[in-house]
């Protein structure tokens, strides 16, 4: 730009930015109430503006639960090996989209280049780690019981059904995959609610899901304030479990109280700082377990 010459207010090429929508039943949809929220950036560029994100309402949550319920039976009845392959594919897609994800982490979450690269690597590796569990957790957690009578007696874990996930509000990508993977790998379907710090990453993750052969309705992703959805999720009679990350003591109490209506399985998780989320102790077989039921089957043996 030559000195003294004024910069043109019209750029040479106008970008075509992505509309950030909700992801319900395998489709990107606008929020039912037509509301959006401004998603800010910690950086000064573009006046701190990154994108407008969809502001999910109770109605969007209800649609997502319906989609998740429909998807549950077929997903749970897929072979464990097949579910495992689909989670591996999700890991592949995260790694493949590394450049876009890193850029998103830098602009929306204000990560350094190094931090963004690490976040994406851990997210891919974590999906890879959980993918392998899909056809193994059952052998580790269940098995044959040698009862004192001539019977075959086996206890196997089964998925609960529809699980409402309130993902981390601190770890934009690793926190998200760490919340979703252990829920869906066993055959549960999920309605995931994502609030900050960088909800555009939730849309990036929805795009990963969309190209990973995850059947429609297995993972549904909503963005917006958690407090709008939490009471409805807790009281919804067609939700079987809730995974709640972080939050206040009051929120946890309200959730546990309202969820007694249909005895939802509620599990409260910590939500540490972004760096701590990347540690190996934030992935565990015992994060799969809270969203399982145990079925014990008897059958006589004899000539």
């Amino acid at each position: 730009m030559a000195a003294g010459k004024k910069r043109s207010p019209v750029p040479e090429r106008l970008p075509v930015p992505r509309t950030c929508k909700l992801y319900i039943k395998g489709a990107f949809v606008r929020p039912a109430a037509g509301r959006t929220l401004q998603c800010g950036s910690s950086r000064k560029e573009r006046g701190g503006f990154v994108a407008r994100i969809a502001h999910a309402s109770r109605k969007d949550f209800a649609s997502a639960v319906t989609a998740a319920r429909q998807a549950f039976g077929p997903w749970a009845h897929r072979s464990a090996f097949n579910r495992s392959q689909i989670l591996f594919r999700m890991a592949e897609m995260v790694d493949h989209r590394r450049a876009a994800l890193e850029a998103g982490l830098r602009t929306a979450a204000g990560l350094t280049a190094k931090g963004a690269a690490e976040e994406v690597s851990v997210a891919a590796d974590r999906l890879f780690w959980y993918a392998g569990w899909a056809d193994k957790y059952s052998q580790v957690l269940g098995g044959a019981n040698p009862v004192a009578a001539p019977f075959l007696n086996i206890t196997i874990p089964e998925p609960l059904g529809v699980v409402s996930v309130f993902a981390s509000t601190r770890s934009p990508l690793v926190g998200l995959v760490s919340a979703v993977a252990p829920v869906i790998l066993s055959g549960n379907t999920a309605v995931v609610m994502v609030e900050g710090p960088a909800p555009t990453l939730a849309v990036d993750f929805a795009e990963v899901v969309a190209v990973s052969d995850v059947p429609a309705g297995v993972v549904n992703i909503l963005t917006g304030p958690r407090e709008d959805i939490l009471p409805h999720a807790a009281a919804h009679m067609d939700v079987d479990g809730v995974a709640f990350f972080g939050g206040t003591v009051e929120e946890a109490k309200a959730l546990e109280e309202a969820s007694a209506g249909n005895l939802k399985r509620v599990h409260l998780f910590d939500d540490p700082e972004m760096g701590a989320w990347r540690e190996d102790d934030m992935q565990s077989l015992y994060w799969i377990q809270p969203f399982l039921e145990w079925k014990t089957t008897w059958h006589p043996k004899g000539w």
Partner: protein
């Protein structure tokens, strides 16, 4: 098809083959006039006594105290002190040896305990002696071995005890339910305060006597008597670390609400109406016999339409040979209901179903003059939405429903918010396995019914509870796994 043809010739017993009375003498056990509580290793006197009735006679058998807040505090404090001073730090193998000793004593005193259970709950002596008591002893013996092996139970994790367990048990199989709460809790290193059921506290006080005889350190297990209010005080006690509750779905939800936000652990075993699916290729005589013996109390039998006439006929024949009467008689199949309230409720549900157009098939046997007896019955032509098809019936009433295809059977069985037990009767292995896969229930019995074992996890899906009792999955509820 003519129904008598369907089931073949029928054996007419008449009164020719009547059994001679074979009643156990109730005098061989001592029943006190009044029972208090068992706290800190001692039987203590209580207040606010209420009468406990022998359901076979309707007469008051003894009186039991109701623990108030002060008494509950005393018991929880004893359990806390025992946890900190004696039990938590005890070498795990020593804990195991106490459990083993308790199991052995139960075996040795099984006759006495089964009499106490039958006197108080009305369950036929044959069941309490040959089914209940062996399971109770086995439960303690099995968990004796767990006490020193917990470090191997959860790969990659460390498990530790929780503290004080507050348990509440119902009057249905009171001793077995008490064993389910106490044995895993002790093996895991916890101490216990258990509230016995107001409907059948006698045998649980008998169990307290076993703890005393076993020299279990004082306060490790404390037993309180009382009704709902005592249960509420205990389950909401601030010094209880785990609440283990068995009871109705409604009261279970109430317990869960009261614990919201406290961070306390909770396991629930709540009721549910079991369902048993009878396919046309099943071994019908075997199935009907098992159903008549085990399923009768308040279950649903889902029969494939093509065999309905035959099943109805076989059930009638089997029902006519069920022996109803004195629960202390070793030949009795069906004893009294546990209370007047249960009897009235059973009658009301059956009457309501008949008003809606259901057909009642009831045994025409003679009933004892006194006591809460109900003639075994089954109802057909019942609407799926009828209370008799949905609610738990406390009495010996079976509800027959029909289906055409396996998919319909599964859909009907799963069309409920509960899921504790289910049964499948079919001679086709692949069908049993497929249906077992699809049923949403915590325990599935294929070509059998009412089987229990200390290492077979028991517990429900959905609103039938959370957590399991028995085996590795049961003991996990009693531990903090980090």
């Amino acid at each position: 098809m003519d129904s008598s043809e369907a089931s073949g010739p029928e054996l007419l017993f008449g009164h020719l083959w009547d059994y001679s009375p074979a009643a156990e003498s109730p005098d061989s056990v001592a029943v006190a006039d009044r029972y208090g509580h068992f706290i800190n290793g001692k039987f203590v006197e209580g207040e606010n006594h209420f009468p406990c009735v022998n359901p076979a006679t309707g007469e008051t058998l003894f009186e039991a105290a109701s623990a108030d807040r002060k008494m509950v505090n005393r018991a929880v404090k004893a359990a806390r002190i025992a946890y900190e001073r004696h039990w938590q730090g005890l070498r795990p193998v020593e804990r195991g040896k106490y459990l083993y000793r308790i199991g052995r004593l139960i075996q040795e005193r099984a006759g006495e305990l089964s009499l106490l259970e039958t006197l108080d709950s009305g369950r036929p002596i044959r069941e309490s002696r040959s089914f209940g008591l062996p399971l109770v002893a086995a439960h303690f013996l099995h968990h004796a071995g767990w006490a020193d092996k917990i470090e191997y139970a959860f790969p990659g994790k460390t498990a530790s005890s929780l503290g004080v367990v507050a348990g509440v048990v119902p009057g249905d199989f009171p001793l077995l339910r008490a064993a389910w709460k106490i044995a895993p809790a002790l093996a895991a290193g916890n101490t216990v305060v258990l509230k016995a059921s107001e409907a059948a506290p006698l045998v649980v006080m008998g169990l307290a006597g076993i703890f005393e005889e076993a020299n279990l350190p004082p306060g490790v297990v404390n037993i309180l008597n009382g009704a709902e209010e005592t249960g509420r005080i205990l389950t909401t006690h601030r010094d209880a670390d785990l609440v283990a509750f068995t009871g109705s779905a409604e009261s279970g939800k109430q317990v869960r609400r009261s614990l919201a936000g406290t961070g306390k652990r909770l396991t629930l075993e709540l009721g549910s109406k079991g369902i048993h699916i009878l396919f046309e290729d099943a071994a019908l005589d075997q199935a009907v016999d098992a159903v008549a013996a085990g399923v009768f109390p308040g279950s649903r039998l889902l029969v494939q339409e093509s065999i309905l006439a035959s099943v109805v006929q076989k059930l009638k024949v089997r029902m006519a040979t069920l022996r109803v009467g004195d629960p202390l008689d070793a030949n009795t199949d069906v004893g009294p209901l546990s209370s007047r309230e249960h009897l009235d409720r059973t009658g009301a549900l059956v009457e309501a179903a008949c008003d809606e157009g259901a057909t009642l098939h009831q045994a025409d046997c003679a009933l004892p003059e006194r006591g809460y007896y109900f003639r075994p019955a089954f109802v057909t032509e019942v609407a799926q939405a009828s209370p008799v098809a949905r609610e738990e019936i406390p009495g010996p009433v079976l509800t027959l429903l029909t289906f055409r295809t396996p998919a319909e059977a599964v859909a009907r069985a799963n069309n409920t918010c509960h899921g504790l037990t289910a049964g499948i009767w079919s001679n086709k292995g692949s069908r049993v396995l497929e249906v077992a896969d699809q049923l949403r229930a915590g325990v599935v019995w294929g070509n059998t019914v009412d089987r229990f074992d200390p290492l077979s996890p028991f517990g429900g899906y959905r609103e039938s509870g959370s957590g399991r009792e028995g085996g590795l999955h049961g003991i996990r509820s009693c531990l903090e796994v980090r």
